[in-house]
Amino acid sequence: MKSIFKIFIETANSFEGQEEGEEVVLLLRRHPIVIILRLLGLFLAFFLPIIIALVFVDFIIIHNLSILFLFLISLWALFIWILAFYAFTMYTLDVWIVTDRRIIDSTQHGFFNRKVSELHLSRIQDISVNTDGVIQTFFKFGDLHIQTAGTEERFKFLQIPKPNIVKDQMMKTAFAKHHLNQV
C-alpha cells in the first residue's frame, strides 16, 4: 500500500527514456494562463443548465420534472468534467525537459498522436526569446527558439513562463556541458 503513494513523491521530474545518471535541470510547460483561459469557457458552460433551471423553476416544480432535470444536470457536469480533464491532459503532456545532457520536446496532439524530439546540448548554436503582445508581456511568458547546427528545424518552446530566465539557465547548462567535454 505504501508503494502506491510513493509515486506522489518519488517520481518528481523522472521521465520515460531517462538515461542513467541523467539529471533534469528544467521541466517546462506552457504558462498556466493558457490552461486557465481554456478552462474559463468550460467553467461558464457548467452553469448553463443551472441558469436554465432557475429561469424555468416554476415550470419544473409544477410538472414534477425536478429529478429528471437534476439527472440531466449531473450528465452535463460529467461531460464538462471530462472535457476539462482532457484539456488538462493535453496541457500537462505538452512538456519540454532540459537535462544536463539534452533537451526533449514532447508534444501531445489528441490521445493517440504524440511527438517526441530531442536535441543534444552540444548542438545548440543560438537561443532567442520572443515576447509578443500585451498578455505575454503582462503575464511574463513567451516563446524561446533554439537554433541548431545546419539547416535543421529550430527547437521551439512555446508560451513558457519567464523565457529570459530559462534562456540563461539553458546557456549555463550548455556551457557547463561544453566545458566538461573539453576537459
Binding site: 509515486i7 429529478i67 429528471l68 468534467w81 500537462t92 490521445f111
Partner: protein, 87 residues
Amino acid sequence: MIPLTLIVIALILLAVLTYWGITLIIIYHLTRFGVGVQPKYLTTIFFFGSAILSVISLFLFLNLDVNVLKEQVQIISDIPFLGITLK
C-alpha cells in the same frame, strides 16, 4: 416493439461505458507519459471526481421513473422555444 425502459437503460449503459472508457484513457496517458508529480495528482483528482459524479448520476437515474419519462419528455417538447414548439 422494444419497451422504452429497455431502450433508456441500454442508452445509459452505453453512455457509462463510453464515459469510463475515455476516463481510463485519460488516466493511462497522465500516469504513463506525465512527467513529475503534477500529473499523478491530477489523475487522483480526476478519478475520484469521476467516481463521485458517476455515483450521483446513477443515484438520480435510479430515482427517475422511466415509465413516466415519455410524458415528461412530451411536456418539455411542448415548451415553445423562440415561438417554435418542439413536437
